[in-house]
Structures are given as structure tokens and as C-alpha cells.
Amino acid sequence: MRVPLSWLREFVDVQLTPEQLADALTLRGLEVRGLERWGGNWGKMVVGELLEVSPHPRADRLQLTKVRIGKDQVLEVVCGARNIAAGQRVPVALVGALMPDGRLIERAEKMGVASEGMLCSGAELDATDDGDGILILDAKAPLGTPISDYLGEDVIDVDVKPNRGDLLSLLGLAREVGAITGSPVKYAARKITEGSSEVGDGLKLTVADPALAPRVVLRVVDGVTVAAAPDAIQMRLKAAGLRSISNVVDATNYIMLELGKPTHAFDRAGVGSGIQIRLAKAKEQLETLDHVQRSLDASDLVVADERAALALAGVMGGASSEVSATTKSVVIESAVFAPTTIRRSAQRHSLRSEASHRFERGQELDLAPLAADQVAALITTWAGGTVRRGQLDSDPKAVGQTRDLTFRPERVRQLIGVSIPDAEQTKLLAGIAISVTEAKGATSVPVTSKRTVSAAKGESLVAVVPPWRRDLELEADITEEVARLYGYDRITPTLPGRDLPGYLPQPTALRDQVRASLAAQGLSEAVTHALVSPALSNRHAEPVALVTGLLAEREGAAASETLLLSNPLSADHDKLRRSLLPSLLDRAEANLRYGALSGALFEIGRGYGGTKGGPTEWTRLGIVVWGEIAAAAPGGTPRLWDLDELKRLIASVASLCNAAPRYLPLETGDTTLLHPGRSARATGEGIAGLIGELHPAAPEWRPSPRILMAELALHGLSSGQPAVRRVLLPPGTPPIQRDVALAAPAAVLIGDLVALAKESVKSAQSVELFDLFAGGGMAPGERSVGLRFTFQPDAAAALDDAITAEVDAFTTSAAKRYGTKVRGAETQ
């Protein structure tokens, strides 16, 4: 809420500077978002006195003026407005002034006469809406004073929280300021003079359901002249962020800001003989003030006459009863409506107004009659006319009540952690008009909305809560008020005792290890959108479905469906991703466009999907790499990312998770994302995923650099914990290596041979592929496959025969199963 400080000072003395006030409010929970000098942009504009006004010799529309702007400074200014006369004080924009609309004032020749500035209208200053005449200032306006000093205004913008609807008013804010400064709040209601006609003469009021409109008050003012509101009022409303409409409408807005009570003024001519507050009929039509035809709903509350709906209650008035220049008589409606009803209507019609904002936050019953009178008083002051005798009041007995709220001062101390004595708590609360009394005997203290606890005699106090503090319902609410008024800055920080261990649990610790390892190997961590576009997500089904195995099945990813938003911000982000790869590929593309011909990205992030049992989420490691692994040494050749290098990288990560991947071929046609001849499924204990090079038919493909990617589920990354490894101390003998070269038909898969080797040679610690080639002495259609078995015997030569037997068993099985032949063997 924007608060012009001159207005606030009408309700409470403020000795503080605007900055001090802003800080003090912020520290008491009324966050000041901004502090501005309204009119601070009126540079080089001063108060001038018109010494002479004479006709322009050559132009009827213009007048020549002499304006004094200082003791001996007189300017000659040509002016087009008609409302000026000698002796008036007016705003003068000097040469070099920059008008709010961006116009620069220059020395100008107007029909042969030099003009040394410009006399300003309210509209030209963006201070009022009057663009026809010059803004005539008070006769005592000090000559030569900058206009920004004379008309400008300090404005603070207070962020009023949703629970404090009472602060959406100057009066409410004045109460808080008074609590800070100790100054009393000054409020004097304006007196109204009533005429002889009765308000009920020809006008009736019925409220269909008092639960939806607990109090409705009507006033009628006859004989008004609708025109612009006084300049000072227009400027004040403008500084507060409202547009000036007319003297009648401005009167309602002025009182809304002053008291926080929205009211509505109807043209009496547009209202029949009876005003009804009722729910709309289904599909009932109403043209609102913004000239939108609205089809109402049976849960919209309306202000209607006997014929039709006149206004959407608490939200916006209707066009048919809008106050206009021809309006002679007005009906002022000042009501309290059920907050939820107003909120739903405003939401349903996407129509949030200053009024609905306040109604949603609740209204004080007493304000209904008060605001009706205050608006009537202002209308007669600004627009003339006579107030009819009396109010139509739906329920004069519906008045604001104070509420007793019991609290235990000891609990307040226990929660805050500071020993604030009962007397001080009482004094602090008194500052915001909450009087505190002794409880008579045992009491019942509201702890939550469902639960009260009893307090023995002497343990509790009773806070008498004023009607405008609708937010105070529980003991904890009183605790907050005491803490806030005491000042958070005065609470001495303490550290709670420790009875819990402090260590990073899984998966955090392992994930950090994996991240650090990948970064050390040259990859950069990425964070990409979880919400993706159809173009990206259309590729999702493929990689997700291919990540199979126990780990993936447990997460429910493969069997899940894409989750869609019902209210997406844009079509580019309307689905939750199932795979990280499309987003990462998209980022690789972006980096290539920025000129990164080599790069490596990884992300540990979630995929999302819907299953019959509800939504599910899983954690994946996504990798995309392209170009060089590292720059070549001068004169050397660089290592490029390829499937082998990617597998080397994955082996390092898998090792951290105690996983050992085995690679299986993808079925042809499994994917349009990955190269059919350069991709694989990774499976194994604690790992599931897929790796590969980008499909040559993919739009992002290029001959160079090639883009490769991997998506992996790893045990321990999202849940579970890799077991701590056990290790045998190595004996004092060196390891034995046995190399076997096989001639294998080209169709035999290396993965199958290695798997067979591992299975056959159980005592080998490792089996590695150390050599692979075709041609060079090999028969056509054959490859040479070099396998290295490493053994760690306890004693030298002890296992030699056993090793030979195992390796021979392998070569025999391989020959039988895959048609391989032994080309040679060697022991080291």
C-alpha cells in the first residue's frame, strides 16, 4: 500500500524522517518495499506569480504573460490556456526542464514572440487529470520554490501481509506508527448535515442471506454536481497510486484509503426502488464498469435492484448505474461481505480490484455505517448536494466486538527465549490497543484451532483484542505480537543444545563424491529445466524405456506416463521431463552455438512420471559430451570423446557406487536418439542405463564434433548406500598376467566373450580387453581379440597349473560356443 506521509500525519504525529519511519516499520513487521518522492521528477519547475497577462499580437489562441519567479527574475512566457489572470501563482517549467511525458522545455519562438518557459497544467505535471487549464496554486505558494518541494510528497510503499487487512488503510497504519512512536492516533469523523427528505423514501434494502452480507448500509445524496475532485485531492490519490475519476467516485476511494472500507456510489437514476443483496442467478448478465459483459454464476454475490444485477458485490460496479456527468443523485452502498464469496467471485471473473483485495481480507462491521457517512460528507463538500435523512441499515445490531484471548505469559517467554515479564508483555500489547487483564480463575487457552489447554489460576492473562485484529486467534498469535513489539533485534541469539550427530547422510555424500569426480574429469555440472516442451519430451519415451533393470524397475520409471500441467506458463514448459537427455542435448546445442566446439556436461536430476499408484520421481545421472576431451599438447593429437572414452568415464563413476556395468546391444529401431551402431544398454549390479552417440539422422547431428550421451540410474545416487568395501592385503608376490589372443568371427560380441571369460576363469581378479583388430594378417570376417587375465596368487607358481586349466577351459568353451581359435598365449 502506497502511503503519502502528509496524509498519514493527519492521523498520527510522525517526528521521524521518512527513512527512519521506513526502518522502524520494517523492524516491526510492516515491510517497507520502497520510499519515493512523488513529484521528485519535477526538475527545473518553480512557483511563479503572473504579473501581466496580455493578448498575443498575432494569435488569438495565445496569451503573453510576464511571470515573476524570484525577487528580480521575470520571465516572458507565451501560454495557450484561458484560465489565467494576473496575480495568480502557477507552476512554471523553466528552459531545460524535462516534463514527465519526456518533452524538453526550450527557449521557443511562438508566432513571433519569444517564450522563456512554460506554464504547466496539472496533466502536464502528471499531478491531476486536468489538461485544459493551468494548475492554479495557492495564493500563498512561496515564489521561486521548486514545484517538487511545494507539491511533491514523500510516499512509502508498505507490503501489507494477507493476515493484516486492517493495515490496508491510513488509520490502521497510523495505529502501528503510534505503537512505535508512542503518539496517540487522531481520528475525527466528519460531521454531516442531513436534509429533510428521508433515505427510505422510494428506496428499500433487502439482504437475502445475512451470512453473505452481515451488514449493509445505504445513504443517498441528492443534488450533486459531478465534476473533477479538487486538485489537492487528485494529487493525493495519485500519490497513493489511484486514478482520479470524479469528485463522487474519488470520495469513495478517498474513504477506502482512509478507513480501509470500500464503498460504491450508484447513480440514483440507474437504481430502481429496492436494493437487494443476493446471489446471482445462473447466467445472469452484468456489464461491469470496465465495459465487459459478464455471465454470472449462482455463487456470485450481487447488488441488484428489483429488475437486474447492478454490481458484482465487493468487486466492481455495473455500467448501467455508473456515476457520470449527468448524475444528480447518488446511492452510497457501504457493506461488509463474506470474504470467501468475494475472493471466489474475483478469481472466477479474473477481476481483482482494490475493493475485492480488502473485502477478501475481512471488514470491520462498524465501518459500514461510518464509511457511508464519511463518503456522504466528502461528496457534499466536493460535489455539493444534500444528504437525505438517515441510513438504510440491514442490521444495526451487527457491531464490532472485542474478543477475549487468553494466553500464558510463561509460554510466550518459553517460545521467544527471553524473559519478558508479565508487566512488560501487558505494556507492549497496550501499545496496539490490546488491553490485558488478569484471568479470573482457571482458563482455557487456545493452542490450535482444534485444541485448547487449561491454565490454572494465575498462569494466564486475558488479552482483549480490538475488532479490527481479526488475525489474532491463538496464543501463538499473541506471542508473535509480543515478540514483534519487543523487537527481534533485542533477542540475544543462543545455540540449541546438541544431541544429534552431525554428518552428511547418503545419498548426499555419495552424490557429492560423484559430482566432484566428474568435475575432476573435465565435466561441467548443469542444472536444466524439469518442465520441458513437447519437442523435447517427444524424445523422452525412448531413453526412459531403455533404462531397464532391477534398479529402474524399483523406481517405476519405465512403466510411467508423462505428467502434464493443467495451467502451463507456455507450451515450451508444459510437461515434466522423464529423461535428462533431451534437455542436456539442448544445452549442448546452445553451447555449440556459442562456439564451444568441445564440451562436457552432466546433471544429477530427477525424472517424473505418473503411475497407477500416483506420481513417481527418480534420480538419474545424465551426461552429454562432444569434441575433445582435452586440448592436445603442442604438435600432438587430441583425444576425442568416443564410446570407449565415455565407458572409461562411466567406469570411474560406477566404481564410486560399487557398480560394474556390462554393455548390451540396443535392438535395432529402439531409438531415434542414439546411433544404432554406436550405442548400448548398461546393466549390472547397481547400475542401469544407456550410452551412445547421437543418431546421424537427429537434427542436432553434425559430422564433427560428434555428440555422445549417457543416462544412468546408479545405486546410492537417489537412495540406498554402497557397502563399504572389504579388501585383502596383497601377498608379497607379484601378480601374474596371462594374455590370450583369439581369432573370433566378426559377428561374435566382445561383451559376450568377456562375460564368458569372467564366468570361466573365476580365480582371475580381472579380465581386460587389451587388443582388438581386424585385417593385418587376420582372415576376412575375423577379428583378433586379446584378453588379459590377471591373477594374484598367494605364492609364486603355486597356481600355474590351475590357471592354465581355467584359461584352457575358457578357450575350449569359446571355441565351442562362438567358433573362436586360439592365436597365441603368453604369461608374464
Binding site: 527471553v418 533477542i491 555440472e525 502434464l564 553451447n591
Partner: protein, 337 residues
């Protein structure tokens, strides 16, 4: 053979050998000379084969002379070896030398993203105060995201969170990490000390300081007798851990439906931006929220806080635009390391 003749031959061998040794250029040549002169089938051994023809009294004499000759040749070999070895070593070093001033090829250094890094930094600080880490679900329901956190339907406070909804009724993307408070309290008995980092979503137009996807870290401590003063103490430490030991904090009242009293925390640490920067919201867990979490608000109390990871990362790394975090431009990522 005469003693004299043999002695003469030995002396001649000595003279000639020393001359040959002096002329040898390389260690390899010296090795060859060594074995041809003094080896098992060398020249000296050859000469001494005639010793059997000498008289018994001459034999020791010629033996002594032969030893002198052997020692002299050995000494010469050793001298010459030292000289040749030094020259060879210099030649080797000279041949293998490169220009040491070349800068050397650069490694391809990777980098860690500021969002997970900031979360990790917070986790490490909070771990030292006994806080563990848990991660909740990002696809939430209205009940847990709002209602159980004391944000009823149709309450104006809902305006604080513009929400992205899934097509399935009642399902939404969590607008904050706070529903994790409920899930944690329902799963774990007090004492509870936990942080809950993760991704959150809001229906919000993107600009330099807003995004529809962002990250938060929730903190929750529930115990007996935890106070607002404790909250100040812990958050002071967190702020100093994140922004340096001279960081100042300012605690002021805030508003969140799920805490009472509520706190907003500002920091000032002499960074690029002067003055107070709001970094988090916090407060004592509302008794209604404790009750909804299955904890008796009469026996237990605690505090919760929630901070925006992007904002912290922006302040720490002086990144002016939040959109950069999802851009993943390698030039920026590698710059952060």
C-alpha cells in the same frame, strides 16, 4: 721363459693398454677394452699363462708385477670412465633438453554448478549443527503443500504462491519446500534436525530475479524448549558460514501462515551490493502445523526456515541474472569452477 722377458711383456702391456685407454672415447669402448685386457680371456690372463714355466722363486715376483699392472690398467680405466661418463651425460642432457618456458597444455577442468554447490555448502554448515539431509517429492498435493501448512483453501495468503497444477485434480508442483516439514514430522519422531533442499515451481513470469523453477532449502528443528533465540543463533551461523565471518544479520518480523512468530532475515556482508539483503524467511513452527505433523505443540516446539538457493548463489557469486543458472553456458560454468 725368463723372468725378465715376461716382466718386459707385462710392462709393455701396461704401457700400450694405458695408451689405448687414453684414446678411448666412450664408456662402451672402455667396457670393451676392460674385458679384452683384464677379462677371463683378456691379454693379461694370456700372458700369465706362461707363469708355469718359471721357477718357484720367480713366480711370486711375477705375481706381484702382474698385480701392479692390473691395478694400473684398472686405475686408468676408472679415470677414463669418469671423464667419458660425464661427457656422455652432458651430451644426453643436451640432446633431451626442451624449452622450459613453453606454457604447457591446459587440462580440461570441469566445474560444479552454483545451485547444487550452494546447497552443498548449506548442507555442510548445517551438518555441523546436527542437521541431516532429506529430499521430499516435487510433485505434491494441495493438502500437504497448503492445507496442512495452515493455508486453507480460499485464504488470501494463497496469493503468496502462484501455483502450477497438474491435470490430475489436487496434484500440483510444490511451490516451496515446506511440505517437507509435514512429511518429515509424520515420518520421524522428535528431536528432529533436518534440511530439505530441492526444486520448487511457481506460476511466475521469468525475469532477472524470478523463474518458474527455482531451488529452496528448508530447515526444520523440533525439540523440547527450542526458542526464537535459538533460531537467531543458528541462522546467524548459517549466514556467517555462507557470506563470511564478518556478516551481520538483521531479524525482523515476517509473515508465513506456517510459522508464528515469523521472521525475515536480512544480511549485510560488504559484498558488491551494500545494505541489507533479504535471504530467508523463518519462524517458530506454528502449533497447527506441529499438530498436523502429529507432534504435540504443548510438549514440543521448534523452528523452520526456507531460503532461496538462487538468491544466495546470486549474492555470493555476484551473478546479476537468475536466468543464467538454467542457461548452462560453459563459459560461465567454467568461470565459476
Amino acid at each position: 721363459m725368463e723372468l725378465a722377458a715376461l716382466e718386459k711383456q707385462l710392462r709393455t702391456l701396461q704401457t700400450e693398454s694405458i695408451a689405448k685407454i687414453g684414446a678411448a672415447e666412450t664408456s662402451a669402448a672402455l667396457d670393451e677394452l676392460g674385458s679384452s685386457l683384464l677379462g677371463k680371456r683378456g691379454a693379461l690372463t694370456d700372458l700369465l699363462r706362461g707363469i708355469g714355466a718359471l721357477s718357484a722363486e720367480d713366480r711370486p715376483k711375477i705375481g706381484a708385477i702382474a698385480n701392479e699392472v692390473r691395478a694400473a690398467i684398472d686405475a686408468a680405466l676408472s679415470d677414463r670412465r669418469g671423464a667419458a661418463g660425464a661427457a656422455e651425460l652432458s651430451a644426453l642432457i643436451a640432446a633431451e633438453s626442451t624449452d622450459p618456458t613453453a606454457p604447457g597444455p591446459l587440462p580440461q577442468l570441469g566445474s560444479l554448478h552454483p545451485i547444487p554447490e550452494t546447497i552443498a555448502a548449506i548442507a555442510r554448515i548445517m551438518a555441523s549443527f546436527g542437521f541431516t539431509v532429506a529430499e521430499g517429492q516435487e510433485v505434491e498435493d494441495d493438502v500437504t503443500n497448503f492445507q496442512l501448512l495452515n493455508i486453507p483453501e480460499d485464504h488470501p495468503s494463497r496469493d503468496l504462491w502462484d501455483t502450477l497444477y497438474l491435470r490430475e485434480p489436487g496434484r500440483l508442483l510444490r511451490t516451496h519446500t515446506s511440505p517437507g516439514q509435514i512429511r518429515t514430522m509424520r515420518a520421524v519422531q522428535p528431536p528432529i534436525r533436518v534440511i530439505l533442499p530441492g526444486r520448487c515451481f511457481r506460476y511466475e513470469a521469468v525475469d532477472a530475479s524470478h523463474g518458474f523453477e527455482f531451488h529452496q532449502v528448508e530447515g526444520l528443528l523440533v525439540d523440547r524448549g527450542t526458542t526464537l533465540a535459538d533460531l537467531k543463533g543458528i541462522l546467524d551461523e548459517l549466514a556467517r558460514g555462507l557470506f563470511g565471518p564478518s556478516t551481520r544479520t538483521r531479524f525482523r518480523p515476517g509473515y508465513y501462515p506456517f510459522t508464528e512468530p515469523s521472521v525475515a532475515v536480512d544480511v549485510s556482508w560488504g559484498g558488491a551490493k551494500d545494505g541489507w539483503m533479504t535471504i530467508l524467511g523463518a519462524g517458530m513452527v506454528h502449533p497447527i502445523v506441529l499438530e498436523n505433523g502429529g507432534i504435540d505443540p504443548e510438549t514440543h516446539q521448534g523452528f523452520a526456515f526456507g531460503l532461496g538457493v538462487e538468491r544466495i548463489a546470486m549474492l555470493r557469486h555476484e551473478i546479476p541474472d537468475l536466468r543464467a543458472f538454467l542457461e548452462n553456458d560453459l563459459r560461465m560454468l567454467r568461470g565459476l569452477r
